[in-house]
């Protein structure tokens, strides 16, 4: 599977698109495949403070629950409300289905596509 080169990644299988001081965050294809069909997402509301590598949301499939880890300290500015009716969009298009947008002041070190690739061994 190809992880887009223009994105950054976390070891908890989030992808991050950085534009100025806002990061758009989703979960990787690897994570979506491992979870199976996603049936429910529980995302933080705008205004919620995020802490680096702390759980800020949940992604449930029929078989399991995955946790969404915040890739950086910041504040949620938007969460993707369209996913509440069609959470399986994450399975069909994980890199086109963002979960939250976070405004941050500084970024921690994130993984490149090739580093993430090496981590998942695929």
């Amino acid at each position: 599977m190809a992880n887009p080169e223009n994105l950054k990644y976390t070891k908890e299988h989030e992808w991050v698109l950085v534009e100025n001081d806002v990061a758009t965050i989703g979960i990787t294809q690897y994570a979506a495949d491992a979870l199976g069909e996603i049936v429910y997402v529980d995302l933080p509301k705008p205004g919620t403070k995020t802490t680096y590598m702390k759980v800020c949301g949940e992604i449930e499939s029929t078989k399991s629950v995955g946790e969404l880890y915040a890739p950086m300290d910041g504040e949620v500015v938007e969460s993707n409300s369209s996913l509440s009716n069609a959470p399986d969009a994450i399975n069909s298009d994980p890199y086109g289905s963002w979960l939250i947008k976070v405004r941050f002041e500084s970024l921690p070190e994130l993984l490149s596509a090739s580093e993430y690739q090496a981590l998942t061994g695929e």
Partner: protein, 360 residues
């Protein structure tokens, strides 16, 4: 890890795999929800070759099984089957089984993959007279064809008339020249068959069935099998059944024929007389958040844990969360409210009638 004779077929179809009782099994081929719905609305094909097959034969076979199991197989008519349990002397459940009577002196016992060794050992210890127990699990492949269109699809390739076979029956015939046992049983809550074929023919028959079923037949993995059986209120060993649970707690008392001697009968008679201290219940909730295995359950507003969830999911057919759970309040009735701790949030559920889903 072991794999079934159909491993190459699953790989060809791009399955994802999971370890199930020491077996590398397909968990889904594409979407587990689509596979679930296919079984409810059309038909699904499952590889369940991991399950164990024991052949018990000899003129003493019936008598032997009667004292080995809770539901006397000697009372099964030839060509019919019965749900059964094998218990230890303390009344704990070693496994749940289906026993088919092939002929007067020949029984087929199908056990769970993960309990193959335990069942083999227990049956071996309980032999009697000339009864012979053979573990033939490696010689057979077992396919489940389930759903409203399953019988029609299977009929296209079956050498015998399937419609006259009643639920919980078995008959011998052929598929494309391959000797086949057709069993009208399943684990999905739908009509359908489980077909037992020689392991060497598994790939050929699997392909033939998928070709014959075309768009009406979907290959299904264990994820769909689990949500289907949960909706149908069927127990899964290791979740709803175990050595620490008696059949009475699991609502399986109807299968336990007391007032005769079998392994566990003394303990079970006492357990029944003393009354159960906990009972398996169905729970249903609102919203989309599933109560999953091991989550704790409380009475509303109380901090006393009254039980834990054994299986739970967002029901694909019903659209709301369903679960099964042992509760230490066997007197609770349908409609009673409880709270499940879903990862830190108390969430209201109510006791629901089992099964959650019944085919119309």
């Amino acid at each position: 890890m072991k794999s079934t004779p159909l491993q190459p077929e699953h790989e060809k179809l791009g399955a994802s795999f999971t370890d199930f009782g020491g077996w590398n099994m397909p968990v889904r081929y594409g979407s587990d929800l689509a596979e679930h719905h296919a079984v409810r609305e059309s038909a699904g094909l499952f590889d369940i070759s991991h399950m164990a097959e024991f052949w018990v034969s000899g003129s003493d076979a019936g008598q032997m099984l009667d004292q080995a199991l809770v539901n006397p197989p000697s009372e099964i008519a030839v060509g019919r089957a019965k749900y059964n349990l094998i218990c230890n002397p303390q009344g704990g459940v070693i496994d749940d089984l289906i026993v088919y009577r092939i002929s007067e002196d020949e029984f087929l016992v199908i056990a769970n993959a993960g309990n193959r060794d335990a069942v083999s050992k227990a049956l071996g210890e309980r032999t009697l007279g000339n009864a012979k127990v053979e573990d033939q699990s490696d010689d057979w492949a077992l396919l489940a064809l389930q759903g409203p269109k399953a019988t029609a699809i299977l009929q296209k390739v079956a050498s015998i008339e399937l419609e006259p076979l009643r639920y919980y029956s078995i008959a011998k015939g052929e598929i494309a020249g391959t000797p086949t046992y057709f069993c009208r049983t399943g684990y999905t809550g739908e009509d359908g068959f489980e077909v037992l074929i020689p392991a060497s023919a598994a790939g050929k028959i699997w392909q033939l069935l998928l070709e014959t079923g075309g768009q009406d037949l979907t290959a299904c993995g264990l994820a769909a099998r689990d949500t289907l059986r949960l909706e149908a209120g069927m127990p899964l060993y290791g979740h709803e059944l175990g050595l620490d649970r008696s059949p009475f707690e699991a609502n399986l008392g109807r299968s336990v024929k007391l007032e005769r001697e079998f392994v566990g009968s003394e303990a079970l008679t006492k357990i029944k007389a003393d009354g159960i201290k906990s009972k398996l219940f169905g729970l249903k909730g609102e919203g989309k958040r599933a109560a999953r295995a091991d989550y704790e359950i409380f009475l509303p507003g109380s901090n006393e844990v009254i039980g834990t969830v054994t299986s739970g999911a967002l029901s694909p057919t019903l659209g709301y969360p369903v679960a099964m759970a042992y509760l230490s309040k066997p007197e609770l009735e349908v409609g009673a409210k409880v709270e499940v701790d879903i990862r830190g949030t108390r969430t209201e559920f109510e006791i629901a009638q089992l099964p959650f889903y019944k085919r119309s």
